[in-house]
Symmetry: C3
Subunit: 142 residues, 3 copies
Amino acid sequence: MTWIHTQLQLKPRPRGFHLVTDEILAQLPELKPLRVGLLHLFIQHTSASLTLNENADPTVREDFEGHFNRMVPENPSRYRHTDEGPDDMPAHIKSSLLDSALSIPIHNGRLALGTWQGIYLCEHRNDGGSRRLIATIHGEKT
Amino acid sequence: MTWIHTQLQLKPRPRGFHLVTDEILAQLPELKPLRVGLLHLFIQHTSASLTLNENADPTVREDFEGHFNRMVPENPSRYRHTDEGPDDMPAHIKSSLLDSALSIPIHNGRLALGTWQGIYLCEHRNDGGSRRLIATIHGEKT
Amino acid sequence: MTWIHTQLQLKPRPRGFHLVTDEILAQLPELKPLRVGLLHLFIQHTSASLTLNENADPTVREDFEGHFNRMVPENPSRYRHTDEGPDDMPAHIKSSLLDSALSIPIHNGRLALGTWQGIYLCEHRNDGGSRRLIATIHGEKT
Protein backbone atom coordinates (compact mmCIF):
# COMPACT_ATOMS: atom_id res chain seq x y z
CA MET A 1 0.00 0.00 0.00
CA THR A 2 1.12 3.48 -0.90
CA TRP A 3 -0.24 6.70 0.60
CA ILE A 4 1.29 9.99 -0.60
CA HIS A 5 0.28 13.62 -0.18
CA THR A 6 1.87 16.23 -2.43
CA GLN A 7 1.14 19.92 -2.66
CA LEU A 8 0.85 21.19 -6.24
CA GLN A 9 0.94 24.79 -7.32
CA LEU A 10 -0.74 25.77 -10.59
CA LYS A 11 0.58 28.85 -12.33
CA PRO A 12 -1.73 31.92 -12.39
CA ARG A 13 -4.28 31.93 -15.22
CA PRO A 14 -6.88 34.41 -16.45
CA ARG A 15 -10.56 33.81 -15.75
CA GLY A 16 -11.83 30.87 -17.79
CA PHE A 17 -11.53 27.12 -18.21
CA HIS A 18 -7.99 25.77 -18.68
CA LEU A 19 -6.65 22.35 -19.60
CA VAL A 20 -4.06 21.44 -16.94
CA THR A 21 -3.58 17.67 -17.32
CA ASP A 22 0.06 17.97 -18.38
CA GLU A 23 0.97 20.56 -15.75
CA ILE A 24 -0.44 18.28 -13.04
CA LEU A 25 1.08 15.03 -14.34
CA ALA A 26 4.53 16.65 -14.57
CA GLN A 27 4.36 17.17 -10.79
CA LEU A 28 3.28 13.59 -10.01
CA PRO A 29 6.09 11.13 -10.82
CA GLU A 30 4.78 9.08 -7.86
CA LEU A 31 1.98 7.66 -10.04
CA LYS A 32 4.40 5.56 -12.07
CA PRO A 33 4.97 2.58 -9.71
CA LEU A 34 1.27 2.00 -8.96
CA ARG A 35 -0.51 -0.96 -10.52
CA VAL A 36 -3.93 0.06 -9.23
CA GLY A 37 -5.09 3.05 -7.20
CA LEU A 38 -6.79 6.42 -7.12
CA LEU A 39 -5.51 9.96 -7.54
CA HIS A 40 -7.48 12.50 -5.50
CA LEU A 41 -7.00 16.14 -6.49
CA PHE A 42 -8.28 18.77 -4.08
CA ILE A 43 -8.23 22.54 -4.66
CA GLN A 44 -7.88 24.57 -1.45
CA HIS A 45 -9.92 27.53 -2.69
CA THR A 46 -13.58 28.54 -2.88
CA SER A 47 -13.50 30.57 -6.11
CA ALA A 48 -11.83 28.11 -8.50
CA SER A 49 -12.69 24.49 -9.20
CA LEU A 50 -11.77 21.28 -10.99
CA THR A 51 -13.66 19.24 -13.55
CA LEU A 52 -13.03 16.70 -16.31
CA ASN A 53 -14.06 17.47 -19.86
CA GLU A 54 -13.14 17.52 -23.54
CA ASN A 55 -9.38 17.80 -24.07
CA ALA A 56 -9.07 18.65 -27.77
CA ASP A 57 -11.03 21.68 -29.02
CA PRO A 58 -10.26 24.97 -27.20
CA THR A 59 -13.70 26.37 -28.13
CA VAL A 60 -15.25 23.87 -25.70
CA ARG A 61 -13.51 25.73 -22.87
CA GLU A 62 -14.70 29.09 -24.26
CA ASP A 63 -18.27 27.78 -24.44
CA PHE A 64 -18.00 26.63 -20.81
CA GLU A 65 -17.00 30.15 -19.75
CA GLY A 66 -19.88 31.65 -21.74
CA HIS A 67 -22.43 29.25 -20.33
CA PHE A 68 -21.37 29.66 -16.71
CA ASN A 69 -21.45 33.45 -17.03
CA ARG A 70 -25.05 33.27 -18.29
CA MET A 71 -26.11 30.72 -15.68
CA VAL A 72 -24.48 32.59 -12.76
CA PRO A 73 -24.60 36.25 -13.84
CA GLU A 74 -22.52 39.04 -12.35
CA ASN A 75 -25.47 41.06 -11.17
CA PRO A 76 -24.65 42.71 -7.86
CA SER A 77 -28.32 43.45 -7.15
CA ARG A 78 -28.84 39.69 -6.74
CA TYR A 79 -26.21 39.23 -4.04
CA ARG A 80 -25.46 40.50 -0.55
CA HIS A 81 -21.82 39.31 -0.50
CA THR A 82 -20.35 41.94 -2.86
CA ASP A 83 -17.40 43.48 -0.97
CA GLU A 84 -14.77 41.62 -2.97
CA GLY A 85 -16.10 42.68 -6.37
CA PRO A 86 -18.82 41.56 -8.80
CA ASP A 87 -16.93 38.40 -9.82
CA ASP A 88 -16.61 37.08 -6.26
CA MET A 89 -20.03 35.70 -5.33
CA PRO A 90 -20.56 34.16 -8.81
CA ALA A 91 -17.12 32.52 -8.38
CA HIS A 92 -18.24 30.88 -5.13
CA ILE A 93 -21.42 29.53 -6.74
CA LYS A 94 -19.63 28.27 -9.86
CA SER A 95 -17.04 26.47 -7.76
CA SER A 96 -19.77 24.50 -5.92
CA LEU A 97 -21.63 23.71 -9.16
CA LEU A 98 -18.45 22.22 -10.53
CA ASP A 99 -16.31 20.71 -7.80
CA SER A 100 -13.37 21.25 -5.50
CA ALA A 101 -12.13 17.68 -5.92
CA LEU A 102 -11.62 14.95 -8.52
CA SER A 103 -10.89 11.25 -8.07
CA ILE A 104 -9.36 9.46 -11.04
CA PRO A 105 -8.44 5.75 -11.26
CA ILE A 106 -4.73 4.90 -11.63
CA HIS A 107 -4.03 1.85 -13.78
CA ASN A 108 -0.51 0.54 -14.47
CA GLY A 109 1.15 3.83 -13.55
CA ARG A 110 -1.14 6.08 -15.59
CA LEU A 111 -4.44 7.87 -15.09
CA ALA A 112 -7.27 5.78 -16.59
CA LEU A 113 -8.80 8.77 -18.39
CA GLY A 114 -11.01 8.25 -21.44
CA THR A 115 -9.59 9.27 -24.82
CA TRP A 116 -11.25 12.69 -24.72
CA GLN A 117 -10.98 13.45 -21.00
CA GLY A 118 -8.70 16.15 -19.64
CA ILE A 119 -8.43 17.94 -16.30
CA TYR A 120 -9.75 21.51 -16.28
CA LEU A 121 -8.80 24.22 -13.83
CA CYS A 122 -11.91 26.40 -13.72
CA GLU A 123 -10.70 29.88 -12.76
CA HIS A 124 -13.74 31.90 -11.73
CA ARG A 125 -12.02 35.09 -10.49
CA ASN A 126 -10.75 37.84 -12.79
CA ASP A 127 -7.43 37.78 -10.97
CA GLY A 128 -7.25 34.55 -8.95
CA GLY A 129 -3.48 34.15 -8.89
CA SER A 130 -1.68 30.85 -8.42
CA ARG A 131 -3.90 28.01 -7.16
CA ARG A 132 -2.90 25.37 -4.61
CA LEU A 133 -3.89 21.71 -4.87
CA ILE A 134 -3.37 18.73 -2.58
CA ALA A 135 -2.79 15.50 -4.51
CA THR A 136 -3.44 12.29 -2.58
CA ILE A 137 -2.16 9.14 -4.24
CA HIS A 138 -3.13 5.78 -2.79
CA GLY A 139 -3.00 2.32 -4.21
CA GLU A 140 -0.96 -0.82 -4.66
CA LYS A 141 2.40 -1.21 -6.32
CA THR A 142 3.16 -3.85 -8.91
CA MET B 1 -6.60 -4.69 1.95
CA THR B 2 -8.32 -5.22 -1.39
CA TRP B 3 -7.75 -3.11 -4.51
CA ILE B 4 -9.69 -4.10 -7.63
CA HIS B 5 -10.25 -2.39 -10.97
CA THR B 6 -13.01 -3.66 -13.24
CA GLN B 7 -14.21 -2.26 -16.51
CA LEU B 8 -18.00 -2.10 -16.80
CA GLN B 9 -19.96 -1.61 -19.98
CA LEU B 10 -23.46 -0.11 -19.77
CA LYS B 11 -25.85 -0.97 -22.55
CA PRO B 12 -26.81 1.86 -24.94
CA ARG B 13 -29.67 4.06 -23.77
CA PRO B 14 -31.62 6.96 -25.26
CA ARG B 15 -30.97 10.50 -24.07
CA GLY B 16 -32.26 10.96 -20.54
CA PHE B 17 -31.69 9.93 -16.93
CA HIS B 18 -31.63 6.17 -16.29
CA LEU B 19 -31.58 4.11 -13.09
CA VAL B 20 -28.65 1.68 -13.44
CA THR B 21 -28.03 0.45 -9.86
CA ASP B 22 -28.94 -3.16 -10.65
CA GLU B 23 -27.02 -3.29 -13.94
CA ILE B 24 -23.90 -2.07 -12.13
CA LEU B 25 -24.24 -4.31 -9.05
CA ALA B 26 -24.71 -7.39 -11.26
CA GLN B 27 -21.21 -6.74 -12.63
CA LEU B 28 -19.59 -6.29 -9.20
CA PRO B 29 -19.61 -9.58 -7.26
CA GLU B 30 -16.29 -8.40 -5.77
CA LEU B 31 -18.16 -6.16 -3.29
CA LYS B 32 -19.47 -9.12 -1.32
CA PRO B 33 -16.41 -10.03 0.82
CA LEU B 34 -15.71 -6.44 1.95
CA ARG B 35 -16.54 -5.44 5.52
CA VAL B 36 -15.73 -1.75 4.95
CA GLY B 37 -14.60 0.14 1.87
CA LEU B 38 -15.46 2.46 -0.98
CA LEU B 39 -16.71 1.86 -4.51
CA HIS B 40 -15.48 4.46 -7.00
CA LEU B 41 -17.34 4.59 -10.30
CA PHE B 42 -15.76 6.58 -13.11
CA ILE B 43 -17.27 7.20 -16.55
CA GLN B 44 -14.67 7.56 -19.32
CA HIS B 45 -16.73 10.00 -21.40
CA THR B 46 -17.36 13.74 -21.52
CA SER B 47 -20.99 13.73 -22.70
CA ALA B 48 -22.58 11.39 -20.15
CA SER B 49 -22.38 11.47 -16.37
CA LEU B 50 -23.23 9.77 -13.09
CA THR B 51 -25.28 10.97 -10.15
CA LEU B 52 -27.25 9.60 -7.20
CA ASN B 53 -30.93 10.40 -6.87
CA GLU B 54 -34.45 9.13 -6.22
CA ASN B 55 -34.87 5.47 -7.14
CA ALA B 56 -38.64 4.97 -7.12
CA ASP B 57 -40.71 7.33 -9.27
CA PRO B 58 -39.77 7.38 -12.99
CA THR B 59 -41.20 10.90 -13.38
CA VAL B 60 -38.28 12.19 -11.28
CA ARG B 61 -35.93 11.13 -14.09
CA GLU B 62 -38.20 12.79 -16.68
CA ASP B 63 -38.21 16.02 -14.65
CA PHE B 64 -34.40 15.90 -14.50
CA GLU B 65 -34.23 15.69 -18.30
CA GLY B 66 -36.68 18.59 -18.64
CA HIS B 67 -34.82 20.77 -16.16
CA PHE B 68 -31.37 20.19 -17.65
CA ASN B 69 -32.66 20.95 -21.14
CA ARG B 70 -34.02 24.30 -19.93
CA MET B 71 -30.89 25.11 -17.91
CA VAL B 72 -28.46 24.19 -20.72
CA PRO B 73 -30.44 24.88 -23.89
CA GLU B 74 -29.62 23.52 -27.34
CA ASN B 75 -29.14 26.90 -28.90
CA PRO B 76 -26.32 26.76 -31.45
CA SER B 77 -26.02 30.56 -31.54
CA ARG B 78 -24.69 30.37 -27.97
CA TYR B 79 -21.84 28.00 -28.73
CA ARG B 80 -18.76 27.86 -30.94
CA HIS B 81 -18.22 24.08 -30.58
CA THR B 82 -21.11 22.90 -32.80
CA ASP B 83 -19.52 20.54 -35.34
CA GLU B 84 -20.83 17.41 -33.65
CA GLY B 85 -24.45 18.57 -33.56
CA PRO B 86 -26.64 20.77 -31.35
CA ASP B 87 -26.74 18.22 -28.51
CA ASP B 88 -22.94 17.99 -28.17
CA MET B 89 -21.86 21.18 -26.37
CA PRO B 90 -24.86 21.05 -23.97
CA ALA B 91 -23.86 17.42 -23.24
CA HIS B 92 -20.34 18.52 -22.22
CA ILE B 93 -21.73 21.21 -19.90
CA LYS B 94 -24.32 18.90 -18.32
CA SER B 95 -21.71 16.25 -17.67
CA SER B 96 -19.55 18.70 -15.69
CA LEU B 97 -22.59 20.05 -13.76
CA LEU B 98 -23.38 16.52 -12.69
CA ASP B 99 -20.24 14.41 -12.37
CA SER B 100 -18.02 11.87 -14.05
CA ALA B 101 -17.44 9.94 -10.82
CA LEU B 102 -19.23 8.66 -7.71
CA SER B 103 -17.81 7.29 -4.46
CA ILE B 104 -20.15 5.15 -2.38
CA PRO B 105 -19.36 3.52 0.99
CA ILE B 106 -19.33 -0.29 1.10
CA HIS B 107 -20.57 -1.79 4.37
CA ASN B 108 -20.74 -5.55 5.04
CA GLY B 109 -20.63 -6.44 1.36
CA ARG B 110 -23.26 -3.96 0.20
CA LEU B 111 -23.41 -0.35 -0.94
CA ALA B 112 -24.46 1.86 1.99
CA LEU B 113 -27.03 3.76 -0.06
CA GLY B 114 -29.95 5.51 1.61
CA THR B 115 -33.42 3.97 1.16
CA TRP B 116 -34.26 6.25 -1.77
CA GLN B 117 -30.86 6.52 -3.43
CA GLY B 118 -30.13 4.93 -6.79
CA ILE B 119 -27.35 5.34 -9.35
CA TYR B 120 -28.31 7.31 -12.47
CA LEU B 121 -26.59 7.15 -15.81
CA CYS B 122 -27.19 10.60 -17.26
CA GLU B 123 -27.08 10.19 -21.04
CA HIS B 124 -26.77 13.64 -22.57
CA ARG B 125 -26.31 12.70 -26.25
CA ASN B 126 -29.16 11.75 -28.56
CA ASP B 127 -27.22 8.69 -29.65
CA GLY B 128 -24.45 8.11 -27.10
CA GLY B 129 -24.09 4.36 -27.53
CA SER B 130 -22.70 2.01 -24.92
CA ARG B 131 -20.87 3.76 -22.05
CA ARG B 132 -17.69 2.52 -20.37
CA LEU B 133 -17.05 2.78 -16.62
CA ILE B 134 -14.06 1.93 -14.46
CA ALA B 135 -15.06 0.55 -11.06
CA THR B 136 -12.42 0.77 -8.34
CA ILE B 137 -13.15 -1.25 -5.22
CA HIS B 138 -10.93 -0.82 -2.19
CA GLY B 139 -11.42 -1.75 1.41
CA GLU B 140 -10.96 -4.38 4.07
CA LYS B 141 -12.30 -7.90 4.10
CA THR B 142 -14.09 -9.40 7.07
CA MET C 1 -3.83 1.07 7.36
CA THR C 2 -7.01 2.30 8.99
CA TRP C 3 -10.52 1.84 7.63
CA ILE C 4 -13.39 3.22 9.72
CA HIS C 5 -17.08 3.78 9.02
CA THR C 6 -19.09 6.00 11.33
CA GLN C 7 -22.67 7.11 11.05
CA LEU C 8 -23.17 10.81 11.77
CA GLN C 9 -26.47 12.49 12.48
CA LEU C 10 -26.81 16.21 11.73
CA LYS C 11 -29.39 18.12 13.73
CA PRO C 12 -32.49 19.35 11.83
CA ARG C 13 -32.06 22.68 10.07
CA PRO C 14 -34.31 24.99 8.08
CA ARG C 15 -34.05 25.15 4.30
CA GLY C 16 -30.81 26.84 3.28
CA PHE C 17 -27.05 26.45 3.28
CA HIS C 18 -25.46 25.74 6.68
CA LEU C 19 -21.85 25.62 7.87
CA VAL C 20 -21.42 22.26 9.64
CA THR C 21 -17.63 21.78 9.80
CA ASP C 22 -17.51 21.90 13.61
CA GLU C 23 -20.55 19.67 14.11
CA ILE C 24 -18.95 17.03 11.87
CA LEU C 25 -15.44 17.25 13.32
CA ALA C 26 -16.80 16.90 16.87
CA GLN C 27 -18.11 13.46 15.86
CA LEU C 28 -14.84 12.31 14.25
CA PRO C 29 -12.13 11.90 16.92
CA GLU C 30 -10.81 9.03 14.74
CA LEU C 31 -9.09 11.55 12.42
CA LYS C 32 -6.51 12.44 15.02
CA PRO C 33 -4.06 9.49 14.72
CA LEU C 34 -3.84 9.63 10.90
CA ARG C 35 -0.71 10.99 9.27
CA VAL C 36 -2.15 10.84 5.75
CA GLY C 37 -5.54 9.78 4.44
CA LEU C 38 -8.94 10.79 3.13
CA LEU C 39 -12.24 11.53 4.80
CA HIS C 40 -15.24 10.59 2.68
CA LEU C 41 -18.56 12.10 3.73
CA PHE C 42 -21.71 10.66 2.19
CA ILE C 43 -25.26 11.90 2.74
CA GLN C 44 -27.90 9.15 2.51
CA HIS C 45 -30.63 11.42 1.15
CA THR C 46 -31.75 12.74 -2.24
CA SER C 47 -33.06 16.15 -1.19
CA ALA C 48 -30.08 17.52 0.74
CA SER C 49 -26.44 17.72 -0.28
CA LEU C 50 -22.88 18.56 0.74
CA THR C 51 -20.44 21.09 -0.68
CA LEU C 52 -17.34 23.04 0.34
CA ASN C 53 -17.41 26.81 0.27
CA GLU C 54 -16.64 30.08 2.05
CA ASN C 55 -16.61 29.68 5.83
CA ALA C 56 -16.65 33.27 7.09
CA ASP C 57 -19.43 35.54 5.80
CA PRO C 58 -22.99 34.25 6.45
CA THR C 59 -24.33 36.28 3.51
CA VAL C 60 -22.48 33.90 1.16
CA ARG C 61 -24.81 31.11 2.35
CA GLU C 62 -27.85 33.38 1.88
CA ASP C 63 -26.73 34.21 -1.66
CA PHE C 64 -26.35 30.50 -2.39
CA GLU C 65 -29.95 29.89 -1.31
CA GLY C 66 -31.15 32.81 -3.47
CA HIS C 67 -29.22 31.66 -6.52
CA PHE C 68 -30.34 28.04 -6.33
CA ASN C 69 -33.99 29.08 -5.94
CA ARG C 70 -33.73 31.16 -9.13
CA MET C 71 -31.82 28.48 -11.05
CA VAL C 72 -34.18 25.65 -9.99
CA PRO C 73 -37.53 27.40 -9.48
CA GLU C 74 -40.48 26.00 -7.52
CA ASN C 75 -42.82 26.02 -10.47
CA PRO C 76 -45.11 22.98 -10.30
CA SER C 77 -46.16 23.39 -13.94
CA ARG C 78 -42.60 22.43 -14.90
CA TYR C 79 -42.59 19.11 -13.07
CA ARG C 80 -44.54 15.85 -13.05
CA HIS C 81 -43.20 14.64 -9.67
CA THR C 82 -45.17 17.01 -7.42
CA ASP C 83 -46.96 14.77 -4.88
CA GLU C 84 -44.58 15.61 -2.05
CA GLY C 85 -44.95 19.39 -2.40
CA PRO C 86 -43.49 22.16 -4.57
CA ASP C 87 -40.11 22.05 -2.81
CA ASP C 88 -39.53 18.33 -3.50
CA MET C 89 -38.56 18.06 -7.17
CA PRO C 90 -36.35 21.21 -7.00
CA ALA C 91 -34.66 19.61 -3.95
CA HIS C 92 -33.80 16.50 -5.97
CA ILE C 93 -32.30 18.59 -8.79
CA LYS C 94 -30.32 20.85 -6.44
CA SER C 95 -28.88 17.84 -4.63
CA SER C 96 -27.49 16.41 -7.89
CA LEU C 97 -26.13 19.81 -8.98
CA LEU C 98 -24.23 20.04 -5.73
CA ASP C 99 -23.23 16.60 -4.47
CA SER C 100 -24.08 13.77 -2.14
CA ALA C 101 -20.45 13.16 -1.20
CA LEU C 102 -17.21 14.98 -0.36
CA SER C 103 -13.65 13.65 -0.12
CA ILE C 104 -11.21 15.73 1.89
CA PRO C 105 -7.51 15.00 2.48
CA ILE C 106 -6.41 14.26 6.05
CA HIS C 107 -2.94 15.51 6.94
CA ASN C 108 -1.35 15.00 10.37
CA GLY C 109 -4.66 14.34 12.09
CA ARG C 110 -6.54 17.28 10.58
CA LEU C 111 -8.57 18.01 7.45
CA ALA C 112 -6.36 19.76 4.88
CA LEU C 113 -8.95 22.42 4.12
CA GLY C 114 -7.91 25.78 2.67
CA THR C 115 -8.14 28.81 4.95
CA TRP C 116 -11.58 29.79 3.67
CA GLN C 117 -13.08 26.34 3.10
CA GLY C 118 -15.88 25.00 5.26
CA ILE C 119 -18.34 22.10 4.90
CA TYR C 120 -21.90 23.12 3.98
CA LEU C 121 -24.99 21.05 4.59
CA CYS C 122 -27.32 22.17 1.78
CA GLU C 123 -30.85 21.58 3.06
CA HIS C 124 -33.20 21.80 0.07
CA ARG C 125 -36.49 20.79 1.76
CA ASN C 126 -38.63 23.17 3.82
CA ASP C 127 -38.79 20.59 6.59
CA GLY C 128 -36.06 18.02 5.94
CA GLY C 129 -35.50 16.91 9.52
CA SER C 130 -32.28 15.38 10.81
CA ARG C 131 -29.88 14.22 8.08
CA ARG C 132 -27.79 11.03 8.18
CA LEU C 133 -24.20 10.84 6.91
CA ILE C 134 -21.75 7.95 6.57
CA ALA C 135 -18.16 9.02 7.26
CA THR C 136 -15.46 6.74 5.85
CA ILE C 137 -11.97 7.38 7.18
CA HIS C 138 -9.06 5.62 5.55
CA GLY C 139 -5.36 6.26 5.68
CA GLU C 140 -2.09 5.59 7.45
CA LYS C 141 -1.22 6.20 11.06
CA THR C 142 1.93 7.96 12.12
